[in-house]
Symmetry: C2
């Protein structure tokens, strides 16, 4: 039988990252490709304890269906945390528990986007946000972006002249893929423009708590005066990603629509996962835990930057992040990072080519480096190999 798929499928391809991850499952590969946290930070013993307690105290509830919105003690913890760290003003009713932040992106696409609507984003931006929105057949305009974030004047030019803009998608802190952190002026400027032009801003913040240098900056949310900034947060990077527990925090009118979509999409998140995490948070000091992650990633980032400075040719540029999981490498314009990847894979080194992070294509002379996942000695070894290949290649 010839299967007839929906039109939206023509625009969607398998994720480059997920496909590369399959290759990098081989143990001999030194992979800078994924966005994987360091597994040695996972608090396995504490999770065992939390799970046992949940099943002992409340097993029938933990294994049963539950409400779509999520487990209330967890929603309350999240609201309080966001109020503290982002200067927000959420109650638990502003929180929807989602199956990873990826589901938050999908749902926001689903509730806001008609075919041909426009999404504005940084250039480059998070690859899987592009595919999440693309499934709703939208168009993208990449807002010019520099080392301080989205350029406010350029954003206003686009807002003034473009019809059917529905979403402005941003990752203002330790951006994926670039590692860039927006300046305070840009944060304020973008929030003000979104308010003035009546647009929804998504502030995606998976890495914000992983700052290992400099001072925390106010969130876009903290400049929000009309409820149009929607926040995404996740336990994947401060706890562990295997549980797939994340959240959307938003104005209650938006949450109401998201709940309708969650009902039709997957009813609810894993009950026991939510209760395990809530129990872990009750029994443990997550700030202490996050501090150990920060220290480890600082060490790995410093080492990566140091090695790249030493081993990479001079005409290869890269960012020095203050936190998060990634840095971003710029090659001379004539070099195609996909071809470079093929060469590197022959030497058992992997990264993600930059092209797919630009929704409208082009810019093949970039690639993304993740420094959180590999042990230190392999980071150095891998970047040395990469440096050697680069020198031969250029």
């Amino acid at each position: 039988m010839r299967f007839e798929f929906a039109e939206r499928m023509n625009k969607l391809e398998a994720s480059v990252i997920r496909e590369i991850l399959k290759v990098t499952e081989k143990p001999e590969i030194i992979s800078f490709a994924g966005g994987l946290p360091a597994p040695e930070t996972f608090p396995i013993e504490a999770i065992k304890e939390a799970n046992q307690k949940v099943l002992e105290e409340n097993g029938e509830k933990a294994l049963q269906y539950a409400t779509t919105e999520g487990y209330n003690p967890l929603r309350k913890w999240i609201a309080e945390r966001m109020n503290k760290t982002l200067g927000a003003n959420f109650s638990y009713e502003n929180i929807l528990i989602t199956h990873g932040s990826q589901q938050g992106l999908d749902f926001l696409g689903k509730i806001f986007l008609n075919k041909y609507d426009v999404v504005l984003c940084e250039s480059p931006t998070y690859l899987a946000a592009i595919t999440a929105f693309k499934a709703y057949e939208c168009n993208f305009i990449e807002v010019p972006t520099d080392k301080d974030g989205m350029i406010v004047d350029e954003l206003e030019k686009i807002l003034k002249t473009t019809k059917n803009i529905k979403l402005i998608y941003t990752i203002p802190t330790f951006q994926n893929p670039t590692g860039v952190t927006w300046s305070i002026e840009r944060r304020k400027g973008v929030a003000e423009l979104a308010d003035k032009y009546n647009k929804i801003v998504i502030e995606d913040n998976p890495y914000g708590e992983l700052r290992f240098k400099g001072e925390n900056l106010p969130s876009l949310k903290s400049f929000d005066e009309c409820g149009n900034v929607v926040c995404l947060g996740t336990f994947s990077k401060i706890f562990c990603p295997g549980y797939r527990i994340a959240w959307v925090a938003a104005h209650e009118e938006i949450i109401e629509k998201l709940v309708v979509i969650k009902q039709s999409t997957d009813l609810q998140c894993n009950t026991i996962a939510q209760m395990d995490i809530a129990k872990y948070l009750e029994l443990n000091d997550i700030d202490e835990h996050i501090e150990t992650i920060r220290e480890l990633y600082k060490k790995r980032c410093d080492l990566a930057v140091e090695t790249m400075e030493k081993e990479f040719p001079e005409n290869v540029k890269f960012n020095r992040p203050d936190g998060g999981l990634f840095t971003w490498v710029e090659l001379p314009k004539n070099i195609d990072a996909r071809e470079l990847l093929d060469e590197c894979l022959k030497h058992n080194v992997a990264f993600v080519p930059g092209g797919p992070f630009f929704p409208n294509g082009g810019n093949e002379n970039f690639f993304r480096i993740n420094y959180s996942n590999m042990p230190e000695e392999r980071i150095v070894e891998g970047l040395k190999i990469l440096g050697k290949i680069l020198k031969e290649y250029l």
Copy 2:
């Protein structure tokens, strides 16, 4: 700010069931409303053991990101189980692990449905399948259905005369909401027509293993000669629903598209949940476990039917299911089950009115009764109250 939502949101409402479930959380309510399994069947001790073993033996892997397709040992178990119970011929590569069967429905809508495409279904059909597909702005045609399932001649009339039919959605065994099981002729007939007219059939089978009377019947899949029958299965009813682990089993071309959608939607299912279930299946005899569920549901179903026969007025009809979780009650035509529900809630008894199970509306004189969740004495008590109200009402 006035939020501008996508057009698809105009057609979607919060699920009646989920909204009623919020009311029925009060302990004094005797609820026949949800589709909740009996929590006393959850194998809590065995799950504790499985979880401890997974974290001890393989904690870092269990808490990390994993492949989109799902955990291979679990995919293999599922393929073998389906080959045994449904006469299918699947390998693990035909299986995608999903976040509940609800996600399977959403994904199938997403990969197959353009706006205004047509979905054929039983009349009535599963409420949350309607909302899953409706999010892709399709139309529904309800195929006339009787006590033996979808009527084959009626289906062919529709197939002959209707453009843009993309999916035929079916629950042939212990249907939700009616409890009806299709005859073997209907199964064969529908499969043959789908083949002849080149249409995808979804065989949703959450209850198939919960037969407590009569003989197993061959699946639609067993009559599939060209790969157009897509099977949905779940651990929610034979194990526990809190994990949200289910699957789609389909032709590999369909799985390929589903994987692309899963990547853009939520990346993957909960790693540790998949590994916990695989470990549980390794250490325990699930057939023995399912047998205890069957016995319990048989007892509750018999009791419910017996009580309804005794207590309900003669002009109220209902089905006698051979398995599954539900029966379906027909009131005289002039009675509105939504109004009856309001009356019943005053007496702390709840059920789901039948109207929302008909995608094109009408038929307000039905309601669905779940008998799996409440203890026996409350089933009898609740149905007695319901009988009394019905007698006063008619």
